[in-house]
């Protein structure tokens, strides 16, 4: 009876958002007379950072400080339509919609500023600190606040913009059968190292090493928190969680946290992450976003690591001690594979 170390690897080629086209999201951007901007979305921030990243995208596109942008996701009844926060689509789909809306709003803002400064709008630029000035002549300047006041009370303009991101439907080429089901792909590779106890069937995580390619990381700290937390969820799916142990029979499903197991703080392992940035041509500022891919490679990597450790191939999740033990017994004992 012994504990066996094993190492497994898995790679993911991950299509961002829903496949086959469609998948729309809308955004509306408008300024208040104070020169601050509001982004209206129905997209939900459930902790992944949707509000932070759309705020950044809007501020960068408008050319105003990020502090001057407020993202309102309060109400899906009154907000512009969004398909939802799923399928790793938030940053890419909603980000693109926000960018389009902010671009239109910026056009109106620059026209309003041009009227105040009595110049052509194409001769103006933003300084990113809340001012608009004539290119090459920073002293010919007006604040975005004064532009917003002029638009509201003098010019009768609404500094606002509408944005939607809609993917064209993916048609199949009748000659070749070819199609392009996704807009862009993110990528990941993860190596999991585990220790399998051949007496109890228990699997302990030893460490993980991963590389994620997810376009430009618009907010590196948020990307990191997604990857760290998502990998934990991957471990949880691989080794602990199951809503329906006898799926598709829903019987004997867990009813509470005593029966629905998840790894606790004592079950985590060191995880070294490398983020690679290959900007997506169709992403907002090149972003694809981490999304579900945070968790996906962990499961096959752990299954492979268990095979490497004791020579049993479990293809049914979660990989519980019972399944590991039965498989080890069925093959007459642990058969450690060559260390890799």
């Amino acid at each position: 009876m012994a504990r066996h170390r094993g190492r497994g690897i898995a790679s993911v080629n991950y299509p961002v958002g829903m496949n086959l086209g469609g998948d729309p999201s809308q955004a509306l951007v408008h300024s208040n007379p104070s020169g601050k901007f509001t982004v209206a979305l129905s997209s939900i921030d459930l902790g992944q950072g949707m509000k932070s990243v759309t705020r950044q995208i809007c501020a960068e596109t408008l050319g105003v400080p990020v502090e001057d942008v407020y993202v309102d996701t309060a109400d899906s009844d009154t907000g512009p339509h969004c398909m939802g926060s799923f399928a790793s689509r938030g940053t890419h789909r909603v980000g693109n919609a926000v960018m389009a809306a902010a671009r239109e709003a910026r056009g109106v803002m620059m026209e309003a500023a041009a009227e105040e400064l009595e110049v052509n709008a194409t001769d103006l630029e933003t300084d990113g600190r809340g001012n608009i000035h004539v290119k090459g002549a920073p002293h010919r300047s007006i604040s975005t606040k004064d532009v917003a006041i002029a638009a509201q009370f003098k010019q009768g303009k609404t500094i606002s913009g509408r944005g939607i991101f809609l993917v064209p439907l993916s048609d199949v080429d009748p000659e070749t059968g070819e199609m392009s089901p996704a807009t862009c792909y993110a990528h990941a590779c993860l190596v999991a190292e585990v220790e399998v106890d051949d007496e109890t069937g228990e699997v302990a995580m030893v460490r993980m090493d991963s590389a994620y390619e997810l376009g430009r990381a618009l907010n590196p700290r948020l990307v990191e928190q997604q990857l760290v937390g998502g990998a934990w969820m991957g471990v949880s799916h691989a080794l602990y969680e199951t809503p329906e142990p006898y799926y598709p029979d829903p019987g004997h499903g867990p009813r509470d946290f005593v029966e629905y197991l998840m790894p606790g703080p004592g079950d985590i392992c060191p995880h070294d992450i490398a983020v690679l940035e290959r900007p997506a041509p169709d992403g907002p500022f090149g972003a694809k976003g981490p999304g579900e891919m945070c968790a996906n490679p962990v499961l096959p990597a752990i299954a492979n690591a268990i095979f490497n450790a004791v020579g049993v191939r479990i293809d049914d999740l979660p990989i519980t001690p019972e399944k590991v033990l039965r498989a080890i017994k069925a093959q007459g004992g642990a058969r450690p594979q060559p260390r890799r």
């Binding site: 928190q225 969820m233 946290f257 005593v258 606790g264 703080p265 004592g266």
Partner: protein, 159 residues
Amino acid sequence: MAKTALQFRHNGRDVAMFVDGGTNLLVALRELIGDMTPKFGCGQGGCGTCSVLIDGELHLSCLTLAETVAGRSVETLDGMKDGPDLHPLQRAFADNFAAQCGYCTPGMLMAAKALLDRNPQPSRAEVVEAISGNICRCTGYEPIINAVLSAASGGRARA
């Protein structure tokens, strides 16, 4: 059923109410006092998000009968910050990205405070042990552990 008069200290302030027999402390805090910082998660002591300190000791308010805190001192997350100033633990949670959806955060902060109040310089293993009764779905625990350690090493954790 007859109601019972109950008085205790809530974040340093005396409160009084009438409770039904069997009312748990979580319901008393949320529905009778209006302190919404302890959350209802599982209602059976499995998740830790309802954690509060009773006379400085960590307790699950969903499993505590309200009447048992008569005359005692109950601390919740609502009393943690000092006016507009965040507690060092709250600041460390923000700096370390230790909250995502935020539902576990009240319980995590109370568990961490209970630890640092009795052990201002905990080891990593002691931090893990201290928050092991609290479930987090989002963070993978690592940022929470780091936040507690950084608050401790900052040496600013208040008693």
